[in-house]
């Protein structure tokens, strides 16, 4: 019977403290019953090897314990798709931010070393990933205890009538598009307001600053970018193109077209500081590239305006046909 004690003790090791004694007592009684009945069938006392075989058949102690006290998953199965979505989104944002941070460090360095850049990027990213993973998982874990957060995450108060009418495949906004818009707006905001988050040393080592002509336009551009951020978050919450959201997007993109066209025709976007520019890089070339970039962006956004106007027309046509 020594083997039975060892087996029950091995199972108890994986049981929660509160149930350990009760389950062990019951398991021991169940095993003893089986041994007794087998002994009765065979008309003799079971050998140690036979008891060992019986316990082997009963199952791995860890599995047996899991049957009695199934482990509580950190994230419930119904929240799992949302959990992955949020996790991927957060990790992507962190990667972009780390890329920006590592890129800034490299720009200040005397020489560009690819290996150093990649190592800094990897270690910095994994360091932040660990924290982000823990925070996101804890939020979803707390939702498993039936608090209002779970109801909100699962949108339990949904109504069929609130579901958007999706007539065309393009009406579903892809997560990647939302992410790209969010990151672009966030990146530009960080770039515009870099004096707020950069250290004094970093600021002093910068080789370029925005021109006075450009700075005049910064508050308006910042406001527009902030609105874009909010709009992207709204799209993340309701990822469907409807007439209203398309109209808002048209308005937003039209303002960007005007802004970037205006930026494209400024005489100078950036000025050199006292810190020397890297060799083979002229201030006039940098300004030309930035101006052309702004104009190209304006052209692309104008295409999006036309595309969205066409889509609005399509939606209106569907509504008329109904």
């Amino acid at each position: 019977m020594e083997l039975v004690k060892r087996y029950v003790s091995a199972v108890a090791r994986y049981l929660p403290e509160a149930d350990k004694a009760a389950i062990s007592r019951e398991l021991d009684a169940d095993i003893q019953d089986k041994i007794e009945h087998q002994a009765q069938q065979q008309g003799r006392v079971l050998s140690t090897d036979e008891i060992a075989a019986l316990l082997q058949q009963w199952g791995n102690p860890r599995h047996v314990a899991a049957q009695y006290a199934p482990a509580q998953p950190l994230v419930s199965s119904e929240l799992m798709p949302l959990y992955w979505q949020v996790l991927k989104f957060v990790l992507a944002v962190l990667f972009v931010l780390q890329l920006l941070q590592s890129g800034m460090s490299m720009l200040q360095a005397e020489h560009f070393k690819l290996l150093q850049f990649l190592l800094q990027l990897s270690f910095g990213f994994f360091d932040e990933v660990a924290t982000a993973f823990m925070v996101v998982t804890l939020v979803f874990y707390s939702a498993a205890f039936g608090n209002p957060l779970a109801g909100w995450l699962l949108q339990q108060n949904w109504q069929v009538k609130d579901l958007p009418a999706v007539e065309r495949p393009w009406q579903q906004i892809r997560l990647m598009d939302i992410f790209t818009d969010l990151v672009s707006s966030g990146f530009l905001l960080l770039l515009l307001w870099h004096p707020l988050w950069m250290s004094a040393d970093t600021l002093a080592s910068l080789r370029l600053v925005f021109s006075a002509d450009f700075k005049v336009f910064m508050p308006l551009l910042s406001l527009l970018l902030l609105c874009s951020l909010l709009f992207s978050l709204w799209c993340w919450y309701r990822p469907y193109w409807q007439q209203t959201t398309l109209l808002l997007n048209v308005l937003q993109n039209l303002l960007y077209v005007l802004a970037f066209s205006w930026i494209g025709f400024l005489p100078q976007l950036v000025l050199a500081t006292n810190n020397p520019l890297p060799r083979l890089l002229e201030l006039s070339d940098i300004n030309r590239v930035l101006q052309h970039g702004a104009l190209l962006l304006a052209c692309y956004l104008f295409y999006e305006v036309l595309r969205d106007l066409y889509r609005i027309r399509q939606l209106r046509q569907i509504k008329t046909d109904e």
């Binding site: 007592r25 019951e26 169940d30 019953d33 007794e36 009945h37 009963w58 599995h63 049957q67 009695y68």
Partner: protein, 114 residues
């Protein structure tokens, strides 16, 4: 269909009705091993690793009453349907009859059965 897939689906099918089988068997008091034997005699083979934790869970939910008794020099935990368990058994039995009848009709119409 591969053997493993058949086993998996068979397991899923049986898992659903296991509670009903256990509740129906516990109108009379049973301890773990005697319950398993009763089910086995009725043609339902459930391994110990599934049956005993299930019985324990049903007891925790208040569907079974339990009592430790000394017998043949050893202790055994006897289980029996509680009042709540009896009510649930009636409801589940009615549901099972309904489902069984409907499923029987469907299966009768299958090509290999006609």
């Amino acid at each position: 269909m591969t053997e493993s897939r058949l086993d998996k689906m068979r397991g899923e099918l049986r898992r659903g009705v296991l509670v009903l089988a256990v509740l129906a068997s516990l109108e009379q008091p049973h301890y773990g091993y005697s319950l398993r034997k009763q089910l086995l005699d009725a043609g339902i083979d459930i391994d110990e690793g599934t049956l005993y934790p299930l019985v324990r869970r049903l007891a925790e939910q208040g569907l079974l009453d339990s009592e430790w008794q000394q017998a043949e020099g050893r202790e055994r935990r006897y289980y029996q349907l509680s009042l709540q368990g009896k009510e649930l058994l009636q409801q589940l039995s009615a549901e099972w009859q309904l489902l069984n009848g409907a499923l029987g009709n469907l299966l009768e119409k299958t090509s290999w059965n006609s």
